[in-house]
Symmetry: C2
Subunit: 159 residues, 2 copies
DNA sequence: TATTGTTATACTCTATAACTATA
DNA sequence: TATAGTTATAGAGTATAACAATA
């Protein structure tokens, strides 16, 4: 029979604790930035030309596209990004970093590295790299893509 | 000079994506349980006698004690837990699992293992264990405890 | 005076739907 | 008809302060 596990072995518990701890540390570091740590993620993603329409950004950041509207509004009002018409699709807007935004981004990156360092402090540098790598690989899969086992289950109508 | 990183190398981005993905998967599995995945964590923690006052549970789960009141209210209304007076401190209430709650917990554990498996699917079983272990070690440090470097900084008044 | 639990209030996020302008 | 972006609204979640009972 299955003995009750300890809550420490629940992945959701660990993820929640670590994510909240990182969020608190990051919010301190980026105080004043519109959108907080998420605003930083927009700046980083917008710094790369590729896939910088609002919808693409929203999907990459894992938020609804309505949230992205407010986020860009605030970042634009702060002079950190601009909305430019997409030459290929007049419905879409490309989000590009302003010069001010680029300078701000450099400072933010330095501050957020400190926040990450603070959260990961219990681990050795090598372990930190392993954790980052594993988390990134899990995060990079499209959450909307059904897994192979789900596809197989649907095809075979089993279970 | 620091070239802008890709958003994929931001720890906050990866943590947010993975935590949200897990939350969605877990919510599907525990549909109907008061408090959702967090209610499950309360049940697991309450199944262990130790440190099961509402305040201790709140701290372990990383939420405010006011949140715990609502959570326990709902779990108690569903017959899954009971509030018992703490014999050592009449202000405190000990949260204990009912028989119904214990049975429900067994089922929930099985379902949540599936959810975790779904989220961690991109990793090999060995990598999954490594990720769980590293996350747990980071999560287990008390978020309110200042790090050694912070203490040293306060003491020396440097920086 | 400090702490546990409760309650009430306000605030922040998020989810949803409806609308526009394009495709 | 479908999609990108916007707007408005409602709901969930959270934070804060105040209170009663007890330490």
């Amino acid at each position: 029979m299955a003995t009750p596990q300890r809550v420490e072995s629940d992945l959701g518990w660990a993820l929640g604790r670590v994510a909240r701890a990182h969020l608190r540390a990051a919010q301190e570091q980026v105080a004043g930035l519109p959108g907080g740590p998420r605003g930083y993620q927009v700046l980083v993603a917008a710094a790369r030309e590729e896939s910088s329409t609002q919808l693409a950004l929203a999907q990459k950041l894992g938020v609804d596209r309505t949230v992205m509207t407010y986020l860009i509004d605030e970042l634009q009002a702060a002079g950190l990004v601009e909305r430019r018409p997409d030459p290929a699709d007049r419905r879409a807007r490309r989000v590009v970093l302003t010069q001010t935004g680029g300078a701000r981004l450099c400072d933010l990156e330095r501050r957020l590295r400190e926040a990450e360092q603070h959260v990961l402090a219990p681990l050795s540098p090598e372990e930190q790299d392993v954790l980052r790598g594993l988390l990134r690989r899990v995060a990079e899969v499209d959450p909307d893509t059904p897994s192979a086992c789900e596809v197989a289950r649907d095809l075979t109508q089993e279970c």
